[in-house]
């Protein structure tokens, strides 16, 4: 690899270029990590001095985010997406194969520092997995051939930008377009409507449309905007618009497709919101996994500035000033939770805030802030252009319009499907070509497990609500694999702030592992129920309150997946006691009776 500049110079340049802005701490760390595969001590020291933060505060941020490291990773840092759908496509075998070819242990840099191979939470490529990130860039559709080419490229020290470009191709796979995806770009039309008809009229359209948030919770969008507008009665327009593109829910990838092919409309929706609520600053919080799109998104923003759709005096209107900046996340699912996202945007650890106060009154830097999902902003822009009735014409009474679903797993045609709200699970399964389905996991790891007897139910806020993840499990699958994968996911992603989620999550995972290993008895199943309920009732934020869902849902609806793994005994140890003495036997050379667990007890 080419020699790198001194990290001290690099860090200094970063700081000088942006006036040593504390809020950018995470962005600085990201850039340093990208360049040096870790955050060198000197950089920590410099950042602390320049930003007037303690070094421990900076180390705390590095420790929080999965994509930041305090010791060097390999020059080629490979992360396999660890989503259950990647597993179902054979990712584990490919990971083993790549490790063997390269001679590395998962998680540890090779002795020559050339490469690391590790896993990371779902990277949002479930319709074209198995997928990896390599130095932050996405590679999809892995197979034996791709793995052997990658191993060769690494051994030959080929710089990443000289790798064959087809490795980095990411497909949209839009399989069904309805009112949102079948229209061309707004091209400024929504903003022109705002200027011509006035903010009150356009706000009225959004309110009449009944648009609800697409990020999962389904809060009424117009109401959110109204609260934010009302939170301060000055005319400084010192409010903030944030687009939540953290998209960390396993199995969700529709925001990726929107940002890849409809970014212009998403930015238009943000600008529309700014015009209505009175905001000058906007942020796109882009998950670190989508780093590969950042350049193109910045180009789109630049084009909008040139077109007078962003920046000072938008569309020539004096005082209509608004601009958007892209901030990168760094591998933390909890940062999708809006208050954790805001903390992260302020350059801190992404620990959810105590609410109330809600972001609409006290958000980014204490300012009134709207946080909406990518799809919500796009829909808002289209409504401004096409009118509320156009939108209300599809969907159900309480869930107007359409919803994008990211479909993956055991079906013929995985990809993006736009359906009106109210569509039944059965209809979705038919369209994506799923036959002989055992279960569908709707709304991701935090969502619900739906058995065939409930396939007539519909996806809408009145029935099964969803942020857009739809994973199909065929008859030949063991659903306990899914539960185990999700339990591990929540342990890895817990921010650690509150005990029920931090400790309860681990207890759940350990018990699920115990069931999976065939060591659990009926007492363990009762324990799963009990702990799951406590975690659900007492956690601080949505991550913890939903973390027990996969366990509780499947215990209720698929008890057999547990029963078939249970031992006859009421109770068994969680691990093989005698085998746990093997290291000590090897080290001491003992094999007497005392060197084994007594079996007569």
């Amino acid at each position: 690899m080419v020699a790198l500049p001194d990290p001290e110079d690099f860090t200094r340049e970063l700081l000088v270029a942006s006036n040593s802005d504390r809020g950018r701490l995470l962005q600085y760390l990201h850039a340093i990590q990208q360049r040096y595969s870790h955050i060198p001590e000197t950089s920590v020291h410099q950042l602390a001095l320049a930003l007037r933060l303690s070094e421990s505060r900076i180390r705390g941020v590095i420790g929080f985010y999965s994509f930041l490291h305090d010791t060097p990773r390999g020059d080629y840092d490979i992360l396999f997406s660890d989503s259950i759908t990647d597993h179902m496509l054979g990712s584990r075998v490919l990971l083993g194969d790549l490790c063997t070819r390269l001679g590395v242990e998962p998680g540890l840099p090779r002795a020559d520092g050339r490469v690391t191979v590790d896993v990371t939470s779902c990277t949002g490529m479930c319709d074209q997995g198995p997928a990896i990130l390599i130095n932050g860039q996405a590679v999809t559709r892995l197979d034996n051939f791709r793995i052997s080419s990658i191993a060769a490229l690494i051994e030959n020290l080929t710089p990443l930008d000289e790798w064959p470009s087809e490795l980095f191709e990411v497909q949209d796979n839009i399989r069904r377009a309805d009112i949102l995806l079948s229209r061309g770009s707004c091209g400024g039309g929504a903003l022109r409507a705002l200027v011509e008809k006035g903010a009150d009229t356009i706000f009225g359209e959004i309110a009449t449309s009944g648009l609800r948030g697409r990020g999962g919770a389904g809060f009424n969008t117009a109401m959110k905007w109204k609260f934010c507008r009302a939170a301060r009665d000055d005319e400084m327009n010192d409010r903030v618009v944030i687009c939540n593109a953290d998209e960390g829910e396993p199995g969700t990838f529709k925001d990726r497709v929107l940002l890849n092919s409809h970014a212009d409309d998403v930015f238009e929706g943000m600008t529309l919101c700014a015009g209505i609520i009175g905001a000058r600053h906007g942020y796109l919080y882009l998950r670190g996994e989508y780093l590969y799109m950042k350049h193109a998104l910045e180009e789109t923003l630049a084009q909008r500035r040139r077109d007078g759709l962003l920046g000072q005096n938008i569309l020539g209107q004096a005082g209509f000033d608004f601009d958007i900046e892209i901030h990168l996340g760094a591998g933390a699912y909890v940062c999708g939770e809006e208050s954790a996202l805001i903390e992260s945007l302020e350059g801190k650890r992404g620990v959810p805030r105590v609410r109330p106060p809600f972001p609409v009154t006290h958000g980014y830097l204490g300012k009134p802030t709207v946080v909406n999902n990518v799809e919500t902003f796009m829909a808002a822009a289209k409504i401004a252009l096409e009118g509320a009735n156009w939108f209300r014409a599809v969907g159900t009474e309480q869930s107007t319009g359409t919803k994008l679903h990211s479909i993956s797993g055991d079906c013929d045609r995985p990809g993006i499907y736009e359906f009106p709200f109210g569509v039944s699970i059965q209809q979705v399964l038919e369209e994506c070509g799923a036959a002989d389905t055992l279960a569908v996991q709707v709304a991701g790891a935090a969502g619900s497990t739906i058995p065939p007897a409930e396939f007539h139910r519909s996806i809408a806020f009145e029935d099964i609500s969803s942020g857009g993840s739809f994973m199909v499990f065929g008859r030949h699958r063991d659903l306990l694999d899914m539960v185990q994968n999700f339990s591990r996911f929540f342990v890895h992603e817990s921010c650690g702030f509150c005990t029920p989620c931090r400790v309860g999550g681990v207890l759940l995972k350990d018990l699920v592992d115990k069931v999976h290993a065939g060591r659990a008895g009926t007492a363990d199943i009762q324990e799963l129920h009990r702990i799951g309920t406590v975690v659900k009732l007492t956690s601080h934020c949505g991550l913890g309150t939903e973390a027990a869902n996969p366990v509780l849902d499947t215990l209720g609806k698929f008890p057999s997946i547990y029963e078939k793994h249970l031992t006859q005994a009421d109770y068994q140890p969680a691990f093989d006691l005698d085998a746990a003495l093997q290291d000590a036997r090897d080290l001491s050379g003992r094999d007497d009776a005392g060197a084994h667990i007594r079996t007569d007890l």
Binding site: A574, L581, Q582, D583, A584, L587, R590
Partner: protein, 179 residues
């Protein structure tokens, strides 16, 4: 009066802090011995456990002897309690779980400063170490968990009196608050 309940206690891989804290119930120990009879316990120095109603375990499971004592307690006690952080989570001793057993033994017996006769001990008298320290509920079924490092004398009193009288136990916030 009906016969007294029988109580046994043991320290596995713990620091005896939890047992010391049991003594922090102070003069209430006189009331306690009206209610229960101590069987095997460091307080009585009885080495072999008889049939008991309540068993209290301090410390996690770090070696083969811990496993045996714990299993004996489970076999002899109607109700078994994980007492303190080490029993519940492995606690301080479980900090060694970040390392391989080999690294721990080499640090103590081979590479450590001032170590004579550098070798990993192989005397059959010495209990064999498990490669990791485990919470006790991973080895036997546990009925109740009393948190704290150690649980305070007051918390122990609230807990034991409730249990002995057959009432549901509810610890006041002050007794499970640790900062």
């Amino acid at each position: 009066m009906t016969e007294k309940l029988k109580l046994a206690t043991a320290s596995l891989c713990g620091c005896f802090g939890c047992h010391m804290s049991l003594l922090d119930i102070d003069e209430r120990i006189l009331e306690l011995v009206q209610l229960v009879e101590f069987d095997r316990s460091p307080f009585t120095d009885i080495k072999k456990i008889g049939h008991c109603d309540i068993g209290i375990i301090e410390g996690g499971v770090a070696n083969a002897e811990n496993v045996e004592v714990l299993r004996e307690f489970r076999a002899h006690c109607k109700v078994l309690i994980a007492f303190g952080a080490c029993a519940i989570n492995g606690g301080i001793p479980a900090m060694r779980n970040q390392f391989e057993l080999k690294e721990c033994l080499e640090e103590s017996y081979v590479d450590g400063i001032g170590v004579y006769n550098r070798m990993i001990p192989d005397d059959p008298e010495i209990p064999m170490l498990l490669n990791k320290v485990h919470p006790i509920h991973e080895v036997v079924q546990i009925d109740h968990f009393l948190p704290g490092c150690p649980p305070s004398g007051d918390a122990i009193w609230t807990f034991l009196t409730g249990l002995i009288e057959g009432r549901p136990v509810s610890l006041p916030y002050g007794q499970i608050r640790y900062d």
